[in-house]
Amino acid sequence: MRKSVLLVVVIILVFGIYRVGWRSSGRAKTGGPPAAVHSVAPGFSLQDLNGQPLDLANYRGKVVLLDFWATWCTPCRGEIPHFVEFQDKYREQGLQVIGISMDDGPKPVREFYQQFKMNYPVALGNEKVAQAYGGILGLPITFLISRDGRVAAKYVGEVQMPTLEQAIESQLQAK
């Protein structure tokens, strides 16, 4: 009997230490400042990497996943293969992923675009767009924009993909 009790104590102790370690191991968090959720997503007109116009207004009626990222940002690099996958998976249902790179110049972005086989438009960001979206003061920051052009969700830091996918599906189903 005493051995059983001790065994339970040991299991609780080990599990407790493991959980504390997990929490403090530096995983990126979502959250951050209050998001301007439900507000109209600020419009922008940029040029994509091929010099084509990239205007948010042209995507009204689609669900837009707007990703502020950079090539040097490790969590961003982890997210992008998932965004490429989402673009393929949900294209027909009306998802449009748009990337806005906060890199200082286009060269590394072009290389990255090829390397990661990105299948959605990417433009270089600027101070004006960043300020319009409440300040991009850390990366990654991702916005989910509804078909009627409103900010449905804002994710600061590396987003948990199952959470995001669920939100995308929910927006795609809303008519």
Binding site: R2, K3, L6, V9, V10, L13, V14, I17, Y18, V20, G21, W22, S24, S25, G26, A28, K29, G31, G32, P33, A70, W72, C73, T74, P75, C76, M102, D103, D104, G125, N126, E127, A130, Q131, G135, I136, L137, G138, L139, P140, V156, G157, E158
Partner: protein
């Protein structure tokens, strides 16, 4: 009694083992773990300064004020930065490091310098460690790195510490 002693030893051994697993996980999760001076920038280490500490130093009428150098991306700096800080260039970039070398060249090695970036969560920041290593290599002895756990917005701007925009 003997059994109880054995059980206690077993518990202690398991506890030590679990702690070792946690420490190993943490070491593996930290980039540049192989670089000794960079791994010193682990949260809580002496080379770091917290936002609150830096703010207090800047506010205080007494004491030496640090030279604050931003070694992050320029687009983030232009949106918001610490008043009085200077933009150097990204520490992950050779041009940024060269610019850092030039900036500190005329300074005495005991100059109080604070480096910061805030582009991404601490363990993922590609800029502060190379910049810190460069100053360490150059012989600077009074260098601190601003510990920004998540990003500059969350840990400085939205906590109400002062910022300005522009170049």
């Amino acid at each position: 009694m003997k059994n109880l002693f054995r059980c206690c030893c077993f518990i202690v051994a398991l506890g030590i083992l679990a702690a070792m697993v946690v420490l190993a996980r943490h070491a593996l999760a930290t980039p540049f773990a192989a670089d000794q001076s960079a791994s010193d920038l682990a949260p809580g280490s002496a080379q770091l300064i917290n936002p609150e500490e830096l703010f207090n130093i800047l506010q205080s009428p007494k004491g030496e004020k640090p030279l604050i150098l931003n070694v992050g991306p320029s687009l983030l700096y232009m949106q918001a930065h610490i008043p009085g800080s200077e933009y150097i260039g990204a520490g992950s970039d050779s041009q940024g490091i060269e610019s850092l070398r030039r900036r500190v060249k005329p300074l005495p090695h005991n100059k109080f310098i604070v480096l910061y970036c805030g582009c991404c969560p601490w363990s993922h920041c590609p800029n502060v460690r190379p910049a810190y290593n460069e100053l360490h290599k150059a012989g600077f002895t009074n260098v601190k790195v601003l510990y920004i756990a998540d990003n500059f917005g969350t840990d400085w701007v939205y906590k109400g510490y002062p910022t300005i925009k522009g170049q």
